[in-house]
């Protein structure tokens, strides 16, 4: 926002890459087509196993979002304490905020589609196995981060406190990943790389496309939210500047 003309730069946040939504929509449609029309029925679980493709892809997006949020928050804490790094610190803070939001969005999807898959297979919606508990607690932690970040607005202390909470969430993501190996549980170990896996080539193709399309979708949402946060920051700066000028005139 330039000091001379506060009005000049202010435009509502628009998607930066106009073709992006079309590519993302096409990728998601292809993935859905593969899930319902190409991937074969699983031999022990039946049709309900088709939840797997978007459930696991959403879990990948959530975990990447949370790790990214923790790393960007750590960078923000590090950079905000250094002279001349204010602009980069602001960008990392916005990136952390956007990644945290997308992590919580996909975490919600995982925590809702998971029980809907578990009920017909495990005969219960929820078990208190370590992976599920850790996933839920990490979701709570990042919801806390978002609440605090939203209340902090321009307050630097509040932003730093929120960033600290996000940094704590980073190791939790690693524990979610290794929970089944370390402490056991009912979760299938299909994507662990220790034998087994998806045995049919059409299942492998569908899974790969689902992962790629959901991650592309998540990346486009992060981009959208970052632009939104940048615009909000600029608007708040402009308000402060305008109030100063009005006070000076009167």
């Amino acid at each position: 926002m330039s000091a001379s003309s506060p009005d000049a730069d202010l435009q509502p946040a628009r998607p930066g890459v106009t073709w992006m939504p079309y590519v993302v929509a096409a990728a998601l449609l292809v993935a859905l087509f593969l899930v319902f029309f190409v991937a074969p029925r699983e031999r022990t679980m039946g049709e309900v196993q088709r939840i797997f493709y978007f459930h696991v892809a959403s879990a990948f997006a959530a975990l990447i979002g949370w790790v990214g949020c923790a790393v960007a928050s750590l960078a923000y804490l590090f950079l905000s304490a250094r002279q001349g790094m204010e602009v980069i610190a602001k960008i990392t803070d916005r990136l952390a905020h956007a990644l945290g939001e997308i992590g919580v969005l996909f975490g919600t999807i995982v925590l809702i589609t998971g029980p809907l898959w578990a009920k017909p297979v495990w005969k219960t919606y929820w078990t208190w196995e370590p992976r599920l508990v850790l996933m839920m607690l990490t979701q709570f932690l990042f919801i806390g981060y978002l609440v605090l970040r939203a209340y902090a607005k321009k307050d630097v202390a509040g932003r730093k406190l929120a960033a600290g909470i996000a940094v704590i969430g980073g190791p939790a993501v690693y524990l979610i990943h290794v929970a089944v190996e370390l402490w056991g549980g009912n979760h299938p170990q299909v994507v662990s790389g220790q034998g087994g896996g998806l045995q049919h080539p059409d299942m492998q193709l569908t899974f790969a496309v689902a992962i790629a399309s959901v991650l592309l979708f998540a990346a486009s949402l992060v981009h959208l939210r970052m632009r939104h946060h940048a615009f909000t920051d600029e608007l708040e700066d402009a308000y402060l500047e305008l109030s100063d000028r009005e006070d000076a005139r009167s």
């Binding site: 506060p6 009005d7 509502p12 946040a13 074969p40 029925r41 699983e42 031999r43 022990t44 679980m45 039946g46 049709e47 309900v48 088709r50 939840i51 797997f52 978007f54 459930h55 959403s58 969005l105 919600t108 999807i109 809702i112 589609t113 809907l116 898959w117 017909p120 005969k123 078990t127 208190w128 709570f140 919801i143 806390g144 609440v147 605090l148 209340y151 307050d155 406190l161 549980g185 299938p188 170990q189 299909v190 662990s192 034998g195 087994g196 896996g197 998806l198 045995q199 049919h200 059409d202 959208l224 939210r225 939104h228 615009f231 909000t232 608007l235 402009a238 308000y239 305008l242 000028r245």
Partner: protein, 135 residues
């Protein structure tokens, strides 16, 4: 007495709300009857329901014919079981994908509302700028 900062009050409210949510969740779970579960399935591989062709039986090989007969019966039983599972499984599959799209639509609605609020704030800002210019 020193007044508390707005951030401090809001932070305390947020922490209190989250703590209450966690306590309520844990409390409801500790009271809930834990259902008796069947032997949990923990597959290490997902395979398709494609059956390999049965071995060809030489004419007069009665043992071979019986083996194929048993294999066919086992497959029929497995297929029947899978069909039974699918009766409820399909409903849960539909519910999961419906939930996925509802969550995404809710997120987009929230973003659209915030965007509209920002646009309204921008209009107010422009109005104030114009008034400042007129003075």
């Amino acid at each position: 007495m020193k007044p508390s900062s707005p951030l401090g009050a809001r932070f305390r409210t947020a922490v209190l709300t989250l703590s209450l949510a966690v306590v309520a969740t844990l409390g409801s779970v500790s009271r809930a009857d834990v259902p008796v579960r069947e032997e949990p399935q923990r597959p290490s591989a997902f395979g398709a329901t494609e059956d390999a062709p049965l071995p060809t039986v030489a004419p007069g090989d009665l043992q071979g014919l019986l083996r194929n007969c048993d294999a066919e019966r086992e497959r029929a039983v497995a297929a029947q079981k899978l069909c039974e599972q699918d009766k409820t499984g399909v409903d849960f599959l539909g519910a999961a994908y419906a939930a996925l799209w509802i969550i995404l639509m809710a997120f987009f609605a929230l973003v659209a509302i915030r965007q509209r609020r920002l646009s309204a704030e921008l209009a107010t800002l422009r109005e104030r700028l114009a008034r400042l210019g007129e003075r």
